[in-house]
């Protein structure tokens, strides 16, 4: 039996069905991500774990116990909000200590635990500061500390990094992952950023329109997107119809026939390689993304995006490129 599981859960607001027959399981010590575009139901699902949403059908169990009707305060979980939700009237120390004071832990123990967790997030020297005196990144670390100090069964993180600038976001991503591994705590992380999901997760649940459309390991998700939505959301794929695929790779027949195929941009080569076939194409444009260059080609009316390493190509010669090279096995059939 999984540590946390949701079984055939449906939730609606009036006539609006927000979560549609969701089933998922999370193992102890895992960091899983709920990934999807805005409005796909990922935050609602997270709030279901917390007990903050009332659902109509299904069951949710934590550590072998069905908790459908257990109030949020009795679930012993932690939650980090996008808006931090720190208490402005309290100091950093009082914010972190709040959960422990509610549980009537002794003063000495509170002092010890709070200082330990503040050390963990490197903010022990800010213990007497008020929240408005801290930067966004520091506030989110306090929020994390406040959730961890009560030693919750698992931690829910609702887009905790989306309000931070890129540099601090990247740093906190690494920090959260390191912290999770160090403490061995189970975490459920919500994000709309596929890169963030890839960096952080043991497993990713991709959601769309209230359903889980794919549940996979990050590498698997990237290499074998299940359908057009996942392919479009996860990476920079070329999505081709069956006819287009046939024109590009007439001799290739996939194991399963599909109406659409995905072809990763970096698997189309500018030079021949092992097992590659040649296709004619002409160069249209390019964009420098940093370490990679995104090139736009056209092969008989089929637009193709090709990603190449910046260091391996001279952009001035791209105009002369008239052929591309594809390993036919790179085509991923997509479910409709």
């Amino acid at each position: 039996m999984s540590y946390i599981s949701i079984d055939h859960l449906s939730l609606s607001y009036g006539n609006n069905l927000v979560l549609k027959d969701i089933s998922l399981a999370v193992e102890k010590g895992e960091l899983v991500t709920l990934l999807g575009p805005s409005g796909c139901g990922k935050s609602t699902l997270l709030r279901v774990f917390a007990g903050l949403e009332v659902f109509q059908k299904g069951d949710i169990s934590i550590d072998g116990e069905i908790v459908n009707d257990v109030a949020p305060k009795d679930r012993n979980i932690g939650m980090v909000f996008q808006s931090y939700a720190l208490f402005p009237n309290m100091t950093v120390f009082d914010n972190v200590a709040f959960g422990l004071t509610i549980k009537k832990v002794s003063k000495k123990e509170i002092e010890e635990k709070v200082m330990n967790v503040l050390e963990l997030v490197n903010l022990a020297d800010k213990k007497d500061f008020y929240i408005h005196q801290l930067s966004g990144g520091q506030q989110q670390r306090i929020s994390l500390a406040r959730s961890l100090v009560t030693e919750p069964k698992f931690l829910l993180l609702d887009e905790p990094l989306s309000a931070l600038d890129a540099k601090i976001r990247k740093q906190l991503q690494m920090d959260i992952r390191a912290l999770q591994k160090k403490l061995g705590i189970t975490m459920i992380f919500v994000t709309h950023d596929q890169e963030e999901a890839m960096i952080l997760s043991d497993r990713i649940f991709v959601m769309n329109e209230g359903k889980i459309v794919q549940d996979a390991l990050p590498a698997e998700l990237y290499e074998k997107p299940k359908n057009e939505f996942v392919a479009g959301f996860i990476g920079n794929y070329n999505i081709l119809t069956r006819q287009q695929k046939q024109r590009l790779a007439p001799t290739f027949s996939a194991e399963k026939l599909a109406e659409k195929y995905a072809l990763r941009a970096e698997l189309i080569k500018l030079t021949p390689a092992e097992n590659t076939e040649t296709i004619d194409a002409f160069f249209e444009n390019y964009t420098i993304l940093g370490s990679t260059i995104r090139c736009y080609f056209n092969s008989g009316g089929i637009p193709l995006t090709v990603d190449v390493l910046n260091s391996t190509v001279d952009v001035t010669t791209l105009q002369n490129q008239t052929q591309l090279f594809i390993d036919y096995r790179s085509f991923v059939p997509l479910q409709s």
Binding site: A71, S83, T91, F98, S135, I168, Q171, A178
Partner: protein, 289 residues
């Protein structure tokens, strides 16, 4: 040059506005401290006799006490009933909130005279004392300020997330409300309280029509004395404004000053101890050992 010009215009506007606001107070003050002021720029003499007369009038003190007690009782009723109600509605009943947002504007549409007439027809001769009816009427009149004031404060602090966050940390609804929500909306509450306090203290129509005959408040007293003597009326006005100012300061002090100042002092002391917080260790790893 342009910048200087702009400043000059800004300051001039401010000075004109200030004079416009303060001039009536100064002239009322001067008139209240003189016995003759007709064809000179400043009064011909200076006296406190009107204030002394006012202080010696038992009706003035009684009216003052009635106004203060009526205001404080109504304020207490409003705060005790409205604060939890608005919080509950805002946090848990969004549909009711939408309805109430419109409904609380209704008192604006009902002139006090109509409200008083309606209340008199309904309650005159009933078992409900008119004093209670007046408190109820004033309560209704304060709804637009009170509801919107508290609601805006709740919205401003992100009350929903704060409540949820407190509940997830193990607090029950009452604990979350008292320990997290109330302290954070205190400033908004204070401003709203001062607004309706001034409104209640200066209320005339409803009080006069409902219980004015046998319950003379300061405003009713003022009206009565104004027709007797202009200098005395000015003294009443000055006393009224001074009192309002003192009571407002008292409320401000009681509801905010002590605690906030203590906390700020403690915070400043700590900041000095650990150095500037402008130097955050943002990029230092969380798990740096």
């Amino acid at each position: 040059m342009t910048k200087k010009k702009n400043h000059f215009i800004a300051y001039s506007t401010l000075v004109i506005f200030g004079l416009y606001m303060i001039f009536p107070f100064i002239s009322t003050g001067l008139y209240a401290t003189s016995t003759a002021w007709s064809n000179t720029i400043l009064p011909e003499d200076f006296t406190f006799q009107w204030f002394v007369a006012l202080g010696q009038d038992p009706n003035f003190i009684a009216a003052l006490l009635r106004s203060v007690s009526l205001t404080l009782i109504t304020l207490a009723v409003v705060l005790i009933i409205m604060v939890p109600t608005v919080c509950l509605v805002y946090l848990y009943f969004p549909k009711v909130d939408n309805f109430l947002k419109g409904l609380v504007l209704m008192p604006y549409a009902i002139p006090s005279v109509i409200l008083a007439t309606g209340l008199l027809r309904m309650y005159a001769g009933s078992v409900v004392p008119m004093y209670a009816v007046l408190v109820g009427g004033l309560f209704i009149g304060s709804l637009p300020f009170m509801y919107q004031g508290i609601r805006n404060s709740l919205e401003g602090i992100g009350a929903k997330s704060l409540m949820e966050s407190a509940e997830i940390l193990g607090a029950n609804t009452l604990q979350s409300f008292l320990r997290v929500i109330v302290p954070n909306i205190r400033l908004g509450l204070l401003i709203t309280t001062l607004l309706i306090f001034a409104g209640f203290f200066g209320e005339f129509v409803l009080t006069n029509l409902l219980i004015g005959g046998n319950y003379e408040t300061i405003r009713i007293y003022m009206l009565r004395r104004m027709s007797e003597n202009g200098h005395l009326a000015s003294a009443v006005m000055v006393a009224y404004f001074t009192l309002l100012l003192l009571l407002s300061l008292l409320i401000t002090r009681l509801t905010s000053a002590g605690k906030v100042k203590r906390k700020e002092r403690r915070s400043k002391r700590n900041r000095r101890a650990v150095g500037s917080f402008q130097n955050p260790s943002e990029t230092v790893s969380l798990t740096k050992q």
